[in-house]
């Protein structure tokens, strides 16, 4: 700046001293702010970010939220602080009609900006992809045959969406269907989400699971609950008049408790379990239309 401060400071009114070195000043402000703010965000905001640590994928999302937010903080500060700085430092003196310096660009700065943003973006994208393939995206619907499957035994549970309720079917327990969802803790669960009619979306918030329920499609999501607790189930895709009311609670329980519960369900629903269609990955029940 020294090279250009006094001479290139455009048309200073008579007697005004050469302007301060805005660049150095602003960069200092920004760097200091970022150095302070970014760790604070990572350390204090990170842990309280959604959706919590009730399952492996949920915990993974908390990490991703933290990383992305930390990376975004300096960018946010850059523009916001710059806006404030500009508003304070670069105002037109009242009554005056001064012109700024006729600057039309700066090759070096533009190149630098492009390279930096490319690097930042590629970092983010690579990180996201890496985490996705690591299985932290497994909580989101991954289609009928996901690329990455968790190893080891899995408890298959079918989520059947219809206007306007979710019901749950346990193929390994005689294909019993239940009104509520209960899962054993520390067990890898394989959710098969499908719909009998329109598009719904199965959202188990605390578990970090969201998978669209499409007609005639099997949409698989994996989750391993790690805490015994109650979680919320929402529909996250507009599906008609009671979309908002498609709300329920599910429970993560201990292994024995789950065994007791499922046995009770099998006994209670025995009469209708007989009537259910054979377990399959999708259902296209009649009637499609009534009276036509």
């Amino acid at each position: 700046m020294s090279s250009s401060a006094a001479p290139s400071d455009a048309s200073p009114p008579a007697g005004e001293p050469p302007g301060p070195n805005h660049l150095r000043r602003f960069l200092t402000i920004w760097i200091v702010a970022s150095v302070i703010a970014t760790p604070l965000v990572a350390i204090f905001l990170g842990p309280i970010l959604p959706p919590g640590k009730a399952s492996d994928v949920a915990a993974g999302q908390v990490t991703d939220f933290t990383v992305t937010l930390s990376l975004a903080t300096p960018v946010l500060l850059l523009v916001v602080l710059y806006l404030i700085y500009a508003i304070v430092a670069f105002r037109q003196p009242s009554g005056a009609a001064l012109e700024g310096p006729a600057l039309r660009g700066h090759a070096g700065l533009q190149t630098f900006w492009i390279i930096t943003s490319v690097v930042l973006i590629l970092t983010l994208a690579t990180y996201a992809t890496f985490r996705l393939e690591q299985g932290y995206g497994a909580g989101s619907g991954s289609g009928p045959n996901p690329l990455t499957k968790p190893s080891g035994p899995r408890l298959p549970v079918q989520v059947i969406a219809q206007e306007w309720a979710f019901t749950y079917r346990y193929p390994t327990y005689g294909g019993v269907e239940t009104t509520h969802l209960e899962l054993p803790v520390n067990t890898e669960v394989e959710l098969h989400v499908t719909s009998l009619d329109v598009i719904h979306s199965f959202w188990a918030y605390q578990l970090g699971v969201k998978a669209d329920a499409n007609p005639n499609q099997d949409n698989i999501a994996f989750v391993k609950p790690t805490k015994i607790e109650t979680f919320e189930v929402h529909c996250a895709e507009l599906c008609g008049i009671w979309h908002g009311a498609m709300f329920d609670h599910g429970h993560v329980v201990s292994g024995p408790a789950f065994a007791r519960w499922i046995a009770e369900q099998q006994r209670f629903f025995a009469p209708v379990t007989k009537q259910l269609p054979k377990y399959s990955r999708t259902y296209l029940p009649e009637p499609l239309r009534r009276g036509e």
């Binding site: 219809q162 009619d197 008049i241 009671w242 209708v272 259910l276 499609l288 239309r289 036509e292």
Partner: protein, 228 residues
């Protein structure tokens, strides 16, 4: 427009017209819902016995008298006093037993999800179908259901057999003369609040999955249980 007064008058008139239009829009369309029907308190309520009573009927077509715009839509009617009205918003007391009698005039359609043929959440886990207690019905016999998911109440309603004499064509139907099934159930209301109830049988003729039209419109096959 000459003179400030003239301009003012014109602007105020315009504002008044717009305001009137908005008022019409809000009152006549946005907030237009069926009237709430209060369940009749049971005279001399016995301890733990039913404290209020709802009498409903389901019709294959609610008829021009109940719904001039959609006479052919399937729907529920409720008995208010001695008169059938088309409303699906029912008010019941909190933490109390509600006894529901449903005269079922529609023929069977069958459930898309047979699982819902199970009776749940009623006292004794059963419903009385023509006086006979059942804890489930045959899925393909279902004509409608009365379900309040948030209260855990699931009551499937078997349909009138095709071969039955003098079927009711459109509502309001007369239980005294016309072929019907009578379903009775009792359930306990929870804490105060507004709960949705709906039918789970694909009974909306001509719409995909039988879930369009009346199945997605308040006052036909969907409504609220207002627990106060």
């Amino acid at each position: 427009m000459t003179g400030t007064a003239g301009k003012l008058a014109a602007v105020l008139t315009a504002v008044a017209v717009v305001a009137a239009l908005i008022a019409l829009y809000i009152t006549q369309w946005a907030t237009a819902v069926p009237a709430t029907v209060v369940a009749t308190p049971t005279p001399g309520a016995i301890a733990a016995g039913p404290t209020s009573h709802l009498v409903l009927q389901t019709d294959a077509a609610v008829g021009p008298q109940e719904s001039p715009s959609h006479p052919d839509w399937v729907g529920y009617l409720v008995l208010r006093g001695h008169q059938w009205v088309r409303s699906t918003i029912y008010q019941v007391p909190a933490h109390s037993l509600v006894h529901v009698t449903i005269y079922q005039f529609d023929s069977d359609t069958g459930l898309r999800n047979p699982f819902l043929a199970k009776v749940q959440g009623t006292s004794g886990g059963v419903e009385l179908v023509d006086g006979k207690p059942l804890n489930h019905i045959e899925a393909e016999e279902a004509s409608h259901t009365f379900v309040v998911p948030s209260l855990g109440v699931f009551a499937p309603l078997p349909g009138v057999p095709e071969e039955a004499k003098n079927q009711c064509e459109f509502g309001p139907c007369d239980p005294a003369t016309m072929a019907h099934r009578t379903i009775e159930l009792t359930f306990r209301t929870g804490k105060k609040g507004r709960y949705r109830w709906q039918c789970f049988v694909p009974c909306a003729a001509g719409t995909y999955f039988g879930f369009g039209g009346p199945m997605q419109t308040l006052g036909y096959m969907d409504g609220y249980i207002d627990v106060v």
